[in-house]
């Protein structure tokens, strides 16, 4: 009797969540947030704590969910014997998508900048913006090397950044990338020992996953409020300066970003033989959650639920790829780095040839991986790797990018979520795994 009441409550909660999170309501919340943000009303700053509270709620179950989901996905793939095919198929589509995103990110903005150079007025505005933000000096150095600032520990960079040397420290510091690596390694170990001993805690993990999903369902009721509370103050932070001085950058970034955001659901619809409107409506939820929270990891549970339940994408593909893909492959950052470099290039009078553009795409993809474990403005630091290869100044880029970052961070996260949702959909399309297995 009690179990029946519990199931009924859960179902009615899901029904309520579905009715609240209809695409029309999500879109209305987005439009309302944009309008309020554009009006720059003073009370919007009071919405910020509401938004922060909402993010805190969503973060409650992210790491337990990842710890449960990844080992389950690894076990599922290993148990079914399809693991090599699944992994090959995913790798194939990851590479194809990386190439496509890098190509689009390079070609569209370079054509755009080719026909719209900055005028004197724009340069003067940009100089004034830089001047205002240049209260601090660009570079500090010492003649005597003994006074030079010490570098950070090597363990914070490169491959070391991925190794969970202390999983409890990684969990307590919300370090989702290291937690993912731990979960993947632990999942493989658990699946292998289960075969040998017949004992496992996978049932318990399934229960944990179900609990986390239910808690996310509760918080999903608040998605429209969260969107308004988080997006409106963020948009309001963009002053008119951003649009007068950085018009070229904003247009190039938004145009290419929107094209990629439209391409992802269209390709998903093509792969699923479904209506583009349905796919667009389904993906709107996790993508807009990404826009409002600017945190890709938070979107993982909702993205998984959308792909598995609304779009019927294969469970093992989604469980295996989506948490790892969203946490590690940052398509939005690739686009951002390419456009920032091209924009700085036209400001500084640097011309990019075809070879330069190819190198730019490669460096941007590489630098996007250097943003693992960092978010927000800290994720700008690897941009220096790209800019300096082309003789461009990172010190000029930072103050400019900070101005546009409230908007750019939203678009970057939306792209990360949307394109990473597209990859398992393409990999799972009928016959894809078999075809890839025979062709790889």
């Amino acid at each position: 009797m009690n179990a029946a009441v519990g199931l009924h409550t859960d179902n009615s909660l899901k029904a309520l969540s579905r009715s609240i999170n209809q695409p029309a309501i999500t879109l209305a919340a987005v439009v309302l947030a944009l309008v309020l943000g554009a009006l720059r009303l003073p009370f919007l700053q009071h919405l910020r704590p509401v938004g922060d509270f909402y993010i805190a709620l969503l973060q409650i179950c992210v790491l337990p969910f990842l710890l449960a989901t990844i080992p389950l996905a690894v076990r599922s793939a290993m148990a079914s014997g399809s693991a090599p095919g699944v992994i090959r198929s995913l790798l194939f589509w990851v590479l194809v998508t990386l190439l496509a995103v890098a190509a689009m990110s390079t070609i569209i903005p370079s054509l755009f900048f080719n026909y719209s150079a900055p005028n004197e007025q724009m340069l003067s505005h940009i100089g004034a913006l830089l001047g205002r933000s240049a209260d601090t000096i660009d570079v500090e150095f010492a003649i005597d090397p003994r006074h030079a600032t010490q570098n950070k520990e090597a363990s914070d960079f490169g491959i070391f950044a991925l190794i969970p040397t202390n999983i409890f420290a990684s969990l307590s510091s919300n370090d989702s990338v290291r937690v993912l690596v731990f979960a993947a390694i632990f999942g493989i170990g658990m699946a292998l020992t289960e075969r040998a001993s017949g004992q496992s805690i996978f049932d318990a993990l399934q229960h944990i996953q179900a609990v986390c999903t239910m808690i996310f369902d509760w918080f999903s009721l608040l998605v429209p409020i969260g969107i308004v509370a988080l997006v409106a103050p963020q948009v309001a932070r963009l002053g008119p300066d951003a649009f007068t001085a950085l018009t070229l950058f904003a247009y190039a970034f938004l145009t290419t970003g929107v094209l990629l955001l439209l391409a992802a659901p269209l390709l998903c619809a093509f792969a699923l033989h479904a209506s583009p409107a349905c796919v667009f409506g389904a993906l709107l939820k996790p993508v807009m959650l990404g826009a409002s929270t600017r945190n890709s990891a938070i979107c993982v549970p909702l993205a998984l639920e959308t792909l598995k339940n609304d779009l019927n994408v294969k469970k093992e593909l989604c469980d295996l790829y989506v948490p790892i893909g969203i946490a590690t492959i940052r398509f939005g950052t690739i686009l951002y780095f390419v456009i920032a470099t091209l924009f700085l290039g036209i400001l500084m009078g640097r011309h990019f040839g075809v070879v330069d553009l190819v190198l730019l795409a490669i460096f941007s993809v590489g630098a996007s991986f250097a943003t693992l474990r960092v978010s927000g403005l800290s994720a700008l630091a690897p941009l220096a790797i790209v800019l300096r290869r082309f003789g461009l100044s990172y010190e000029v880029a930072v103050p400019l990018m900070i101005i546009i970052d409230p908007l750019a961070d939203m678009v970057r996260t939306m792209l990360n979520v949307a394109i990473n949702c597209m990859i398992p959909t393409l990999a799972g399309r009928r016959g894809s795994i078999a075809t890839t297995e025979s062709s790889v």
Binding site: G127, A134, D138, F141, M348, L387, L392
Partner: protein, 279 residues
């Protein structure tokens, strides 16, 4: 007879020698007045002669629209004169910073106040007060040129071992500093700061070298320069801006140090940058 003539001749020679020696004394005194100068001689003369560069040093001392001298350095000189009970007389002929030091060393002025940095060469000729403000050395550099030379490394790596053309003001302490801190650079001396900036804009040099205040003032007054040019501070090199004092004036030096001690805080980087006289 012969003996008498000899005595008279000897006496005349002694008188002539004494007269010649006595008549030479005032001339000797005129050419080395500094040896006898100190606080008491200034009080006795009722005037404190202050040497300044003949050109303005914005935020430090400038010539106002009515021809009157203005600025915190002028105010400090006047405060010193008031404390001594004498009037301040400004000698604003010196053509360069080094010329201000020359005026003090040669006794044509008692003190020199013109954003003077202490250097080893200057300390051989004059005394210096305690610094009234300390500014870090800085560079304004062409971003593209430095980024190209860096080849993917941070700009600091190139600036630390700078080996291109480096602009400084002729006759300033930065000529010495440039040779000492950037031995591989070609030091290009410009007649003024404006000329040095002009040579940076024209591409004749790829960086100019002075203190943090001057670099930030340039960017503050012409923000558009921020796009092409970057600023760099050398964290372990300071310009100690002090008052040059005649070499014999130990008591005056003590007096000035006391004044600087009790008025400390009048000169700060932020205050100087915000000064209306800096535009």
């Amino acid at each position: 007879m012969m003996y008498g003539m000899l005595l008279r001749g000897l006496f005349a020679a002694v008188v002539l020698a004494v007269w010649t020696a006595l008549s030479a004394l005032p001339a000797l005194a005129e050419s080395r007045p500094a040896l006898t100068c100190d606080l008491q001689s200034i009080v006795d003369a009722k005037v404190l002669r202050v040497a300044l560069t003949r050109y303005d040093l914005p935020s430090f001392h400038v010539c106002g629209p009515d021809g009157a001298l203005l600025g915190p350095e002028i105010e400090m000189a006047r405060q010193l004169a008031r404390a001594l009970g004498v009037r301040a007389e400004f000698v604003d002929n010196p053509e360069s910073f080094d010329a201000v030091v020359d005026f003090v060393a040669d006794g044509r002025a008692d003190i020199g106040i013109s954003k003077l940095s202490q250097t080893y060469n200057r300390l051989k000729r004059v005394r210096f007060s305690e610094p009234y403000v300390t500014l870090r050395h800085a560079l304004l550099f062409n971003r593209v040129a430095v980024a190209r030379a860096a080849g993917g490394q941070p700009p600091a790596a190139v600036l630390q071992k700078y080996h291109a053309r480096l602009g400084v003001i002729a006759g300033s302490a930065y000529v010495d500093f440039a040779h000492r801190n950037f031995p591989a650079a070609s030091v290009v001396e410009a007649r003024s700061w404006e000329a040095a900036i002009e040579s940076l804009l024209n591409g004749q040099v790829t960086a100019v070298y002075r203190d943090e205040f001057e670099i930030r003032r340039v960017l503050k007054n012409k923000p558009a320069l921020n796009v092409q040019f970057g600023s760099a501070v050398i964290v372990d090199q300071n310009a100690l801006l002090s008052i040059a004092i005649c070499d014999s004036c130990s008591k005056l030096q003590e007096f000035i140090n006391y004044h600087i001690g009790v008025t400390r805080g009048e000169f700060t980087l932020e205050r100087l940058l915000k000064s209306e006289l800096g535009k």
